[in-house]
């Protein structure tokens, strides 16, 4: 586990830093995706809903387009897709307990699964490993964000 400014940011994930979302390649070639501990911090501690738009399931979403929404009493905003891909399914557990995305953002709190359209090309646009975490740290320092 790597902690940056109080935010847990594992080195083995792929991050779209500006949007505070992560992707994790699964053995079957799909991606599990979610929002980072930083996004959870920005959204607030008591989430009212994390919702994948049902109509988007089975559709290809471009990198950066909204794949889900997060609502709390102080925030409402999109969860953008980290890479271009077909939205396969949302995490149904979030309907009854949206706050799992704050408690366990990289585990039980995953948001959706995507079939990436061109992972080999797109992964170059994501930050990963020690260099990726250093880049994320620079972003947090520039924006003065801590968890």
């Amino acid at each position: 586990m790597t902690e940056v400014r109080g935010c847990n940011l594992p080195e083995d994930l792929y991050y779209l830093i500006d949007k505070h979302v992560w992707a994790k390649p699964m053995e079957d070639g799909t991606l599990r995706v979610g929002m980072t501990a930083v996004a959870a911090k920005l959204a607030g501690s008591n989430l009212a809903g994390v919702t994948v738009k049902a109509k988007n399931i089975g559709q290809e979403l471009a990198q950066g387009k909204s794949m889900a929404t997060v609502e709390s009493s102080k925030f409402v905003g999109p969860v953008p897709a980290p890479v271009t891909g077909v939205l396969l399914r949302g995490n149904e557990a979030l309907a009854s307990d949206p706050n799992v995305v704050s408690r366990d953002p990289y585990g039980e709190g995953w948001i959706a699964e995507l079939k990436p359209s061109n992972w080999e090309a797109d992964k170059g646009s994501l930050a990963t490993g020690a260099d990726g975490i250093a880049a994320y740290q620079a972003k947090l320092e520039a924006d003065n964000i801590s968890c």
């Binding site: 738009k53 109509k55 988007n56 559709q59 979403l61 387009k65 909204s66 929404t69 609502e71 102080k74 409402v76 905003g77 999109p78």
Partner: protein, 122 residues
């Protein structure tokens, strides 16, 4: 996916602060879902667009003013249109309203409604 249009008609104003947060919150949420969202302000809703007014309207005592909800909606890309006749009702001139508000007639509202997938009224 093709963007879909949503229209939110806002008639509530500063006299009913508790009715003035949710319409903007829903608009922001719909924009976050990639809907193309237009709000049409008429009757007392137009008063919320008067420069300086929304800063003084608090849906919850001690909470965020309506101006904060308006800013969230504008930041998310929600378009604001105001009914010209309602500005006359309140003796407002176009320059009295927030920057970026488009002044339109009633027929424009009907076109928005016809083009929208969903229309909500508050």
């Amino acid at each position: 996916m093709e963007d879909e249009k949503i229209l939110i008609v806002m008639t509530s104003g500063p006299d009913t602060p508790r009715r003035c947060a949710t319409p903007f919150f829903f608009a922001t949420l719909a924009a976050a879902m990639d809907y193309e969202v237009t709000m049409f302000f008429t009757i007392d809703g137009t008063l919320l667009l008067k420069k300086g007014m929304a800063e003084t309207v608090f849906p919850k005592e001690g909470g965020k003013p309506v101006s904060g909800f308006i800013q969230d909606a504008l930041d998310a890309g929600v378009k604001f249109t105001a009914c010209t006749a309602s500005t006359e009702l309140h003796d407002l001139k176009p320059e009295d309203l927030l920057d970026g508000v488009k002044m339109v007639g009633g027929a424009y509202m009907w076109q928005l409604a016809e083009d929208a997938k969903t229309t909500m009224t508050f």
